[in-house]
Amino acid sequence: MEISNAGLDVDPDFSSMLDRLFADLAPRTWSDREPAGLDRDAWRQVDELGLTLLTTPEDCGGSGARWPEMWTLHRSAARHGVALPVGEHDLLGRWLADKLGWTAGDDVVSVGVARCGGAVDVPWGADVDTVLLVEVHGDGAAVSRHASADLTWSTDGRLPTSRRARTHVPGIAKRLQVAPDDVAELRLRGALLRSVQIVGALERCVDLAVEHAAVRVQFGRPLLAFQAVQGMLADAASETALASAAVAAAIREADAFQDLRAARTSVAVAKSCSSHAVGPVTRAAHQVLGAIGTTREHDLHRFSMPAFGWRGEFGTGADWDAELGASVDATGLPAVWHRIVDGLPA
């Protein structure tokens, strides 16, 4: 699919540099053995370019980049299927650690938000160095910090290609309080990250399906010549373009307001639309690919499966829908709508 940045100010050189880098790097990060682990060489290579702390402020050791660069990086990484916890580290782990005044050194950091009862799913939990576990309670949350190696991890039941692992928050741990606003921001950051990644992954699913349909011949014609196939591809591409437009708008607002909470309506729209696109787009792509798409040998699952994983994290589509619906209930549709189309902070 044509890459549209929907009016975002994105440096084309940065964008093409990332595409070259990730095209080369991504296959090295794919390991089909269990446990997969984190490819430290690949991590170092990305780290040396300042990409693992892309949005972390310079005074915290990061590159101090803004949301449009974040969009370019994670969309590109997901388009190429790079399996590295760059977003978890930069946008969630280091952000929270810096907020709490914890120094992380060269550790790779991830974050998990516990459910009641203490079970917690952590993306890349078993593979990173440091894990921050967040326990939300009535007014705010408590965060504890752990060496990943000190926790017991289970990877049962996770999706193919997924690196999420499940643990329990240890009963005895030093806990720091974080304010409700910060908990809300953490969720928004995660939702926006996942939305961007979903767009990148779905774009690749559509590309793989279109490329396949152009060369695979049945009944003497390429699949692309069959109207039923055209219909599936057109719908998949349209849903992907729709999600991309929604996510780009949220990025634009996040950048304009310099405060993610002021952009929360647009982040809700972005996570809703990207999450709801995952089912129809991956269904169509897998259908067009036929049996080959169900194999380990073919790459399609490296894009379709992560998209499903991201769909369920930091609020499902339905969760964000319910928040938007509650706003409509409270203030009426015009007020919510005006906030969206006016592009003004909430």
């Binding site: 591409a237 349209s238 928040e323 619906g325 409509v328 709508w337």
Partner: protein, 368 residues
């Protein structure tokens, strides 16, 4: 231009609409861009400078951008305001006249379109030519100083009230190897001798479209739009304006707003309402993206076809949910919004090119 730079213009339009609504000038309706015919309202919009916005000032317009027009039309649609009288003229006749019209045609029509006093229809479809538009059979025969038109147009929205319409006709005999050649567009006045407009009633009793019989209607050479034989190219260039606008997803917005005005209906879940709101928001962004491309003269056909395909389906999905949520609602106005939405729903995914045909256009754009 960021979206927020249009907030003052939006606020101005909203304040005006609020005032008009309070004064009882209009009652919010679904599908008001096709069915809400109110010439006085159109004239008022013209006085405000909200019609013919993209027409240059030397042609009687306002020399504003597509994005400004986008913003104003979006506000009008969201309010469910009666904009049908001028809609086609403002949306697609004016851009076509600017691109293909003669100086005399521009002078005659553009200032009146901007004033909200010149109303138009589109004569593309025929009884035997729907999706396959190139198969139109209306004949244009050369006569001294002009053309004689014979044939039947159908589904012509607003023809019973409009002043004129663009007729796509075959001006040279069909060459099966080059079906898109030999077509020409004509400006035809609907009160011309030989034009007969017969109503076609929709199943909900409304009358918005018509059959228009052209029985040897004579037009002069001055009434040819653009070039003889270039009708197909001209018509397809019109379509990107016709397809991508906010009317392709906002036809039922007034219904969704009406049904949720006093909190969510008891039958609706917050997630169900929120999902529609999120999707409409995304469609807004995508359609705005198309308007940005139109403004910058960048290719927009593929995205325009996408907006129309998914937008019309979404506005129809809203209509379905509204009808379900309205069960047990006792407010007659709310009932009317829901039933009108459902009655009009079938047309959403047909008018302007059916969704199946659009999918083909999108797939070709992807594969090319």
């Amino acid at each position: 231009m960021t979206p927020s730079s249009f907030a003052p213009l939006r606020a101005e339009v909203r304040a005006f609409l609020e005032e008009q609504r309070a004064a009882g000038t209009f009652v919010p309706a679904v599908d008001s861009w096709l069915a809400g015919w109110d010439e006085e309202f159109s004239r008022t919009l013209g006085e405000r400078g909200w019609l013919g916005m993209t027409i240059p000032t030397e042609h009687g317009g306002h020399g504003r951008t597509y994005l400004e027009r986008f913003v104003v039309t979006e506000e009008l649609l969201c309010a469910g305001a009666p904009v049908a009288a001028h809609w086609i003229a403002d949306r697609q006749i004016a851009p076509s006249l600017l691109r293909f019209g003669t100086p005399a045609q521009r002078e005659e029509f553009l200032p009146a379109i901007a004033r909200g006093t010149s109303y138009w229809a589109i004569g593309m479809s025929e009884p035997d030519s729907g999706s396959d538009l190139a198969s139109v059979r209306t004949r244009a025969t050369r006569i001294d100083g002009g053309w004689r038109l014979s044939g039947t147009k159908v589904w012509t929205s607003g023809a019973h009230r409009a002043h004129a319409f663009f007729v796509l006709a075959r001006s040279a005999s069909l060459d099966p190897a080059h079906r898109h050649e030999g077509l020409t567009q004509f400006l035809v006045r609907l009160d011309a001798p030989g034009v007969q407009v017969n109503p076609i009633h929709s199943f909900d009793g409304s009358h918005h479209f018509n059959e228009v019989v052209l029985d040897g209607v004579e037009v002069s050479d001055a009434d040819v739009l653009g070039e003889v034989g270039q009708g197909w190219r001209q018509v397809t260039s019109e379509l990107k304006f016709e397809r991508s606008g906010p009317e392709r997803f906002l036809s039922t917005f007034a219904g969704l707003a009406g049904l949720t005005a006093n909190g969510l209906p008891v039958r609706a879940s917050a997630a169900g309402v929120g999902r529609h709101a999120a999707r409409l928001a995304a469609l807004h962004h995508l359609s705005y993206d198309v308007a940005t491309r139109l403004q910058a003269n960048q290719p927009a056909e593929l995205l325009a076809a996408m907006v129309k395909g998914i937008g019309t389906r979404s506005e129809g999905d809203i209509a379905e949910d509204l009808a379900e949520w309205a069960v047990d609602e006792l407010d007659a106005e709310v009932d009317r919004l829901a039933t009108d939405g459902l009655s009009r729903r079938a047309g959403f995914t047909l008018r302007g090119g059916t969704n199946e045909v659009l999918r083909g256009i999108v797939a070709k754009g992807l594969g090319a």
